[in-house]
């Protein structure tokens, strides 16, 4: 996957981003886990340039990593024919993302509760739970193949 160069250097010489009001990202990536790391890297640079705190960035990083990896692994089953559509919008006060895969979708109620004692060492379901905890709003579509995440900057 190659990002156009304008996505790679969104910051203004490493300064706090005072000129840009909103950063938008809209890409379809192949179902390859390494592609997740590239998006996260770009995302973290943007969050920093918009002055988001480490703690907020950590939460967004965690939620996005889980959402994208879930889409690649569980949604698309790492099928090279399928893609994950990642949309992100960042401004000073609000983070928004939509991650959509081309899989069959899932139902939240089918995911085992990872916080139950018998499931604590079971990785299944932990991603969904981390997403829920680290951002403010999580909304899955009816088909279960798309999730929207919103986080408002902490005061």
């Amino acid at each position: 996957m190659a990002f156009p160069s304008d996505d790679k250097k969104p910051m203004i010489n490493g300064q706090k981003n005072t000129q840009q009001e909103l950063w938008r990202f809209d890409k379809r990536i192949d179902s390859e886990p390494d592609n997740c790391a590239k998006i996260i890297e770009t995302l973290l640079v943007q969050l920093e340039s918009f002055g988001w705190s480490n703690r907020d960035s950590f939460g967004i990083h965690m939620a996005m990593e889980e959402a994208i990896l879930n889409a690649i692994r569980h949604g698309n089953q790492c099928d090279p024919e399928k893609q994950v559509h990642v949309k992100i919008e960042i401004c000073h006060e609000r983070f928004y993302s939509q991650v959509t895969d081309q899989g069959a979708g899932f139902r939240l109620c089918d995911v085992p509760d990872p916080t139950l004692e018998e499931n604590l060492d079971n990785t299944c379901g932990r991603g969904v739970m981390l997403i829920k905890n680290f951002v403010d709003q999580v909304q899955y579509n009816e088909a279960g193949n798309s999730v929207e995440l919103v986080k408002t900057r902490s005061k």
């Binding site: 886990p33 480490n54 703690r55 990593e65 889980e66 604590l120 990785t123 981390l130």
Partner: protein, 121 residues
């Protein structure tokens, strides 16, 4: 003693103190390596008490947590104990949201962990 790529190991007051070399424990290949080194470490060291000091850690992915869970089982099977210390608030959140703080004893600072190990002896 082996040379580790992903961790630093020190023996302090009969406790093996582990620190991670990476600030952001997230790269899948590094996490695999980390998992192997943590398991090798349990065989390498001659005491059963392990303290994992997170002072360097700014990000810790869910895959890295899985490695810690495997490690904890191994240490417990050997009759040893694990404690974690020096977690940033956001990393601490990760353990509480996942309820993994019921498996891992978490202390504010390394000194507290060492004290707890000493009083358990």
């Amino acid at each position: 003693m082996e040379n580790y790529e992903c961790i630093d190991l020190q023996n302090v007051e009969r406790v093996s103190v582990v620190k991670f070399k990476d600030n952001r424990v997230m790269d899948p290949a590094r996490i695999e390596k980390l998992g192997q080194e943590l398991m090798a470490l349990v065989d390498d060291v001659d005491n059963d008490n392990l303290l994992i000091n997170f002072e360097n850690v700014k990000f810790f992915s869910s895959a890295a947590i899985n490695k810690l869970i495997v490690l904890e089982k191994r240490v417990r099977a050997n009759g040893g104990k694990i404690r974690l210390s020096n977690l940033r608030p956001e990393v601490r959140d990760l353990f509480s949201y996942t309820h993994l703080d019921s498996i891992f004893k978490i202390d504010e600072a390394q000194a507290e962990s060492l004290k707890s190990f000493a009083s358990d002896r």
